[in-house]
Amino acid sequence: MSNSANTQKKNSFLAGTANYVDERLGVAGVLKEFGRKIFPDHWSFMLGEVALYSFLVLLLSGTFLTFFFQPSMTEVVYDGVYAPLKGAHMSIAYASSLDITFEVRGGLLMRQVHHWSALLFVAAAGLHMLRVFFTGAFRKPREMNWVVGFVLFILGMGAGFTGYSLPDDLLSGNGLRIIDGMIKGIPFIGIWISSFLFGGEFPGTEIVARLYSLHIMLIPALILVFLAIHLVMLVVHKHTHYSGAGKKDTNVVGYPLMPVYVAKAGGFFFIVFGVIMLISTFFTINPIWNYGGYDPSPVSAGTQPDWYIGWLDGALRLAPTGMEFMIGGYTVSMNILLPLAVSLIFLALVAIYPFIENWITGDKREHHVLDRPRNAPVRTAIGAAGVMFYAILWAGASTDLIATQFKMSLNQVLTAMQISLIVLPIVSFIVTKRICLSLQRKDREIAIHGRETGRIVRLPHGEYIEVHEPLNDYELYKLVDYKDYQPTLARPNAKGKITVGARIRASLSKFYFKDRVSPASQSEIEAARHHAEEIEHEVQKAIEAAK
């Protein structure tokens, strides 16, 4: 009795609230539209979520830090609790960073949460990009969202670098010093940009406050805007799903937003936050008190930037000696401009890749079923080459540590890296492409003949065969459902002319699709099954005869 009355009361409370909100906002329609929206489920889809949640953690922990941090480069004499630096001249920025660390309860924890989540944010965004690349999720209609994601990745690096420089410690000051040196190398306007950025000569008294404005306002605002566009596009496009039985370009298979996805994604936010908190509790990051305030003269050996800047630093290191030259009395610092150009071209290629591939395939259909990486061998190989290129540049930022840790000659390590930067991407392209093609052939074989059982049978006429077990329909479909392309010839256009574009497209299509393994067709599989049945029949007959 009382139980049912309770239920009724609860219901009426919920209904009342819902009614109140809906009468003022009309959200019932929104909920009807989105409440049961389907989201596919796969572990690799969580990488983007990790990036998103790390960003939320960054906003929370960063807000906390702004309440205590003072972005001023005015010189003070330190008088805090950290004894080794007592009496040292330093900027207010550095002193307030020390105060957050040593005099605010939870301050060190929040500093570490902020730094670790920044590292995780860029890492997760990068892995998410790789997932999107290797599964072909950037294809139509998602090309623009790839570009938005790319911008987010760059903004993430920018947010990281501007934040890294704020405490004005020795390590980050040297980072800024390198930026200043690179800027000065830009022809014509380099020293002007440097003077404008630093408000005069390096290091000046402005840069921390300026980076602070960028770090806590402009860049996060841009990230929020692009994040919003990224997510709205995600909803408009509906999420991709991996190939498999029942999954088509015309549907989306997964779980409804409410309740399953809300519980999973919401819970996952807490897990990401919790793991960041766990790492920040136990692992020190950026112990600025060990470095001291910025001073242009000292530096410690083995200094490293945060990981996501490493590849740019590596590019600087790998530039060969003696590349600077003079033109009409002016200095051209190719030792800076070349790494800069290489990095920018690399990024530009990443940004426009979807458009290149689409131009080559000419496939204007919408693609919602993801490729297994093996089923797009050349794309996967290009991705592997790109990853290798990035990785060598990244490792290049640690040449000194590699040399000292492994007791090798620094010069040889660097020369080896320079050679590797050219050679290894090519090697990884070839190896990856071959691996993909082999996997495709294996898939095709399994699709047609079934799985090897290890059962060897000798037939009456002496032949030995291994019995194959056919796949069930669901396993089979996963192996054969992929898009197959073939190279094209350069064709004349409407005016009967073969354009240069058409020639390039034809040779690129050859590069992409010359080596291809077509998915097994129904007739091939049926023929093979028929053959297998005949053999099975013979086997049975032989067994009968043996009895």
Partner: protein
Amino acid sequence: MSEQSKDIERSQNSGLAVIKPDAVRDPGIEPHRVRMTDKSPKHAKNAARQVALLFALSMLGSAFALWAYFAFPLTEDLNTVRQNTLYLGVGITLGLLGIGIGAIHWAKTLMPDHEVAEDRHVLASSEDKRAAAIEIINLANKESGFTRRKLIRRTLYGALALFPLPGLIIFGDLGPNPGNSLRHTIWKKGTRLARDPYGTPIKASDVTIGSVYHVVPEGLVPGTEHYLEEKAKAAVLLVRVEPDKLIETEERKSWSYQGIVAYSKICTHVGCPVALYEQHTHHLLCPCHQSTFDLVDGCKVVFGPAARPLPQLPIYVDEEGYLRAQSDFNEPVGPSFWDRSVKS
């Protein structure tokens, strides 16, 4: 499947794709696999208990964090920072992970896990919608006369092109004209060489063979105006080697004193301090990008991305035996810039 969603595969050009007439048929979504919690109420009840336990653990963690905040105040003893971070962090971690793992366990064990399919629709609008949109644009164009009234249109373009310029120019005071600042340091004739960071002058007799001094111009101590800016250009490394080992040009013979040489410490690559000296090889190494300079051979680059030798500071010894600069550097120190070799 609706007619419209079928269009996704039909309506657009498939380019180089091979369309197989006898592709393997799609068997449809795999049948749902029943979980233990679906068929056994006992398992479901256990799972519910586990979820509740995780949420309870979260409450405990948060309460622990609250307690830790007050239980571990920060004092002069740096150990308290460690304790505060540790216990606060452990509590908050439990508070977060309890909720996270609990919610996901709930979703995985107790919420339905039937895969559901939903139709997609072609993203492009239907033909009549497109026609309507074009109609609206044409109407707007007609009503405003945007294409018809060329004068208005072109002056508008002009105005739109110019209006951001004041917005750019107001950033003009971000920094001064770099002028000649990069070509000069505060070294001048007679400035004594002093130890960094103490500021005490150095006697030639203090500099034994093989020893390295980090040097600043005398008088440049923390607290002086533009201390860091001046130091970023004026920092010098002073080393004494056996005089017969020095390879010096005629012009520079007088720049050193009995094997004592002074070179700019600011790397000619991107400006890091070249702080590492290797006694055996007489090499100076920049820790940032490993540019290596041969100290006895005019600090020429022997390795790494730097292109130019480190600038040398000409020195002499006064009557009291103190090291002094003969003049400023004879070229701009630090990273290269476009017109560094242009005399101004």
